[in-house]
């Protein structure tokens, strides 16, 4: 596993990180198996599929098929997509029930529209947020992924993506691209107060808006909201800029926030942001 404090995505692309050694360790690590299986269970729960009906599901970043095995145990049929040949080879050795594909989710999901009754992803989507080649643009890859995912899902079905976001900016980048692609939905956070147990599930709906499930917590009577909702509703431009003098500091900060939401690179906000410059400017 990656050294403490260092995120694996910073070291390179996933197909290099998950080589034969890493894949072998991964699939034999009982702690990993336990965590991945439990997250797969929670993701399937959040999918809210109709009871006792076997469905055709997509598993993004299926890896060694740990999450897929859980889907099979629940009676579903699934197709898994992963970018690491070594991880897929381990899945083949485990004789999993689903069909496997070697592919890059950032290049799009190569299926006909309305193929899958639902989609889960365990610990994979955050890999899209780091560019590994100069030609790669994370926002573009994220959009390509979400737009094709929206297409291949049966209308009105869901995608539940468990991920490890590095920062709130990264989370915003991801949710912006998902919304652009046509999804509505929100983030469910389980155990928000535990650094170790905290888990993020991005729940996306490809149809009309429905309710967001409550995040799990040890403390049942917490008032803190643990879910956030985002929709396709556009805020009229004048409303969001109401009361702001053009070129004032507040206006500059709001404009920078808008650019960040679009996934563009923006300089961090400091005490000098929007300060009055000397007349020669």
């Amino acid at each position: 596993m990656a050294s403490r404090g260092r995120r694996p995505e910073h070291g390179g692309p996933p197909e290099l990180f998950y080589d034969e050694n890493e894949a072998r360790k991964y699939v034999r690590n009982s702690r990993m198996i336990d965590i991945q299986t439990r997250m797969a269970g929670r993701a399937l729960e959040l999918l809210y599929l109709p009871e006792n009906k076997p469905c055709y599901l997509l598993d993004i970043g299926c890896g060694t098929g740990l999450s897929g095995s859980y889907l099979s145990d629940e009676g579903h049929y699934w197709v898994g997509l992963d970018i690491s040949p070594a991880m897929l080879d381990e899945a083949v050795d485990r004789e999993i029930e689903g069909d496997l594909l070697l592919g890059d989710m950032g290049q799009g999901i190569p299926f006909k529209p309305g193929t899958f009754d639902g989609c889960i992803s365990i610990s994979a989507v955050q890999w899209l947020c780091n560019a590994n080649k100069k030609s790669e643009n994370p926002a573009k890859r994220l959009y390509c992924f979400f737009a094709s995912l929206f297409s291949v899902l049966v209308r009105g079905s869901r995608a539940v993506l468990q991920l490890y976001p590095e920062s709130s900016e990264q989370l915003e980048l991801i949710t912006t691209q998902a919304t652009k692609a046509g999804f509505s939905g929100g983030m469910v956070v389980d155990y928000p107060n535990s650094a170790k147990a905290k888990k993020f599930y991005l729940c996306l709906f490809s149809g009309p808006s429905t309710f967001i499930p409550e995040g799990l917590s040890e403390n049942q009577d917490e008032d803190e909201p643990r879910e956030s909702v985002f929709t396709n509703k556009r805020v009229p431009f004048r409303m969001s800029r109401r009361g702001m003098v053009r070129k004032s500091r507040a206006w500059v900060l709001e404009k920078k926030e808008q650019y960040r939401r679009q996934g563009r690179e923006v300089r961090p906000d400091t005490q000098y942001t929007g300060r009055k410059r000397k007349p020669r400017f």
């Binding site: 076997p54 997509l81 897929l88 083949v92 070697l102 592919g103 299926f111």
Partner: protein, 123 residues
Amino acid sequence: MRLLTHNFLKCNEENCTGGYPLQIKLDDTSSENVKILEQDFNKEFVKNVLSKVDYDVLYNTAKQFGISLLFSYTSQHLEDEGFLNSIHHALFKIHIMEGSLICPQCHVSFPIKDGIPNMLKGN
């Protein structure tokens, strides 16, 4: 890869529209390019999936593997166990192990190794 998945797979290359269905070309140099594996028959799932698949594509693909399905079916056939079993056999039990998938539009070839198609672009 099963024929069920093949029935939904399409070409993902840039500017390729209508890259469906992908043509299956088996690797004749390989000793075991197709496998037939048992799978439990689930009547409800077969009926549901039958309404989603492109039946003409399934009929033609199954023919390639020596399976002759009914050319077309009616709602009466949906209650016929024999018909559903033949569909189940074609969709679930045939596994393509070695070969390639060729796009009918842009002619890009996606190799299949050990049952796993390589759908990476720019291959």
